[in-house]
């Protein structure tokens, strides 16, 4: 159950962004901004870092990921589909009546460990998964706005007190919540110092850079839990929505979705050449 054969992560990330755009062009729209900011984080985790087997999603020796920011569901579904947990074609059913792909992750979807969507649950859950088997790695991916939830800090205290060296938090630090910048609502800075003061090892990384994420996520013998603060851009990939508050939830018209896909492809082409 080692990682899959080496894949072109950039190509996978591109396909995942296309899936996200198409789902946000569906009848209900989707959480576009905070899904686009997550793409490289979840891609590197599922394609390189984590031991998972798409054919045996419940294998006891698997590593665990909890998407505590459950509104990143369309990214998670896209990554799981690309990784082979279920057919990519099913993504077209997202949020449609009768589909199991709901707006927040549900356990009926292969690869989803626990339902999330109400913020602040993931880290405590990860503590439990990490305690149950200290030989596996557990990841909790949190939004930055989510850190306003007090439950996060109850759990963070416990992770350190329990010495959960197999536990890693990734904070998707895109800087925006529904109403605007996190620092204009209830500010989070100095964020790294806050995690350190709770007993965590902190690493900061460029959240859209695979090499930086790979380094930050490597298991290198930290004695306790590690928090990776991934500096990301909400809406990453679509210039008109990047770092925009309004990217949070998008219901793209057919034309908007087509235009967005064209932008993604043009950018991909430029990057590849």
């Amino acid at each position: 159950m080692d990682g899959p054969a080496p894949v072109d992560l950039a190509a996978a990330a591109h396909r995942i962004r296309e899936h996200i755009v198409r789902m946000c062009g569906g009848p209900e729209g989707g959480h576009l901004g905070g899904s686009m900011s997550l793409v490289e984080i979840l891609t590197v985790l599922y394609f390189e870092v984590m031991r998972v087997d798409p054919l045996r999603p419940a294998a006891p020796e698997r590593d665990i990921l909890l998407l505590s920011k459950g509104h990143g569901a369309v990214c998670l579904y896209s990554v799981l589909a690309e990784r082979g947990f279920f057919p990519v074609a099913e993504l077209a059913e997202y949020a449609r009546p009768g589909s199991r792909l709901m707006g927040h992750p549900v356990r009926a979807v292969p690869g989803v460990e626990m339902p999330t969507g109400s913020l602040g649950h993931g880290l405590a859950l990860a503590n439990g998964f990490a305690l149950a088997d200290r030989g596996r790695r557990c990841f909790a991916v949190l939004g930055d706005g989510e850190l306003q939830e007090g439950a996060v800090w109850e759990a963070a205290m416990a992770s350190a007190a329990l010495g959960l060296a197999n536990l890693t938090v990734v904070v998707d630090r895109n800087g925006l919540q529904i109403t605007g910048p996190t620092e204009d609502a209830i500010g989070l800075e100095p964020l790294a110092d806050r995690w350190r003061s709770f007993g965590w090892t902190v690493r900061e990384a460029a959240g859209h850079d695979f090499d930086a994420l790979r380094t930050a996520l490597a298991r290198d013998g930290a004695a306790g839990p590690v928090a990776v603060i991934a500096h990301t851009v909400k809406g990453r990939g679509l210039p008109s929505l990047e770092a925009k508050t309004r990217s949070h939830y998008a219901k793209l018209s057919g034309r908007q979705a087509e235009r967005s896909l064209a932008v993604l492809r043009a950018r991909r082409k430029r990057a590849a050449s």
């Binding site: 997202y94 969507g117 989510e146 908007q256």
Partner: protein, 346 residues
Amino acid sequence: MTGDGTDAPGGTRGGRDDEGPARPRSARESYRDVLPALMRADDRLYCLDSDTGLFDRDAFAAVPGRYLNLGIAEHNLMGTAAGLAASGAMPFVTTMATFATTRALEVIKIDIAYNALPVRIVATHGGLAAGHLGPTHHALEDLGIMRMLPGFTVVVPGDARQAEEAVRQSLALPGPVYIRLGRTATPDLDGGTAGAFEIGRAQWLRPPGDVAIIACGPHPVLAALRAADLLEAHGVRAAVLNLHTPHPLDTAAVVAAAAGALGVVTVEEHWRSGGLGGAVAETLAEHAPTRVARVGMPATFAERAGDQEHLLARYGITAEAAVTAALKLIGGTHGGGTDDADLSRV
């Protein structure tokens, strides 16, 4: 927590979702629009937001310091409201119904209800209104929870106008108030014979008859009205009572609805236990024993995606289900009470 943003005024919307100016208002929009005006007239009022995206900060320019976005943190939200209220303020607190009443429940119980403080919790996304967002965002337990708390007034307006009225009238109540709103616009209920909306007083939408249908919330009340029309085709006269205040319950109206009726059907967007149907059954068992059939969400979490209307149909919170229940009651057959196993297969 929120993490939804379907409220956000700045949310990106595609052309096909654009609607003209004649679009009916949702209850939460009418709340959003009326609150700043009420705050200008009454300096006890605060608006405590939890990153819902419902409000436009600029609308509160005339009441500096009294609109506060406290972020994604419901315990702090409710506790802060209690502290403000204990100091003479009347805070309006807004979050989604399920986050208010399950996540922050202990704070509501101890800090707000126990102290009988005049906090107004205006909760959006009641029932299945969050649709495709799934069970983490559905509120199918809130009415049951809130009506148990001593001193709470619990209101489920039937349309946008009733929502505005409920907000206005809440200013005159001394204790805590919970107002459950939906998400999308629904048709205005016909005032007709109903008379004015008054918190605590049920509205007769159809006069007493062979059966009584008692409902709360926009979709259930509309279903009850349609059920009454359908029953008429069967030669059955059905009363319809909009019991928009599940607590304190209008006992006299419930007893009057049951008087002379062969049975009572309740319709609600809530798990069938503990909510409106539970309240009506308790009341009738004590005051006027009557057969009761409860139409509501069976004992399950939504298993599949779908918008609110789809989920209501899928789980049998419909006019047709109310008709079936009413005919069973009238027919005197066993099983007039809807049983969970039946409806979960709908």
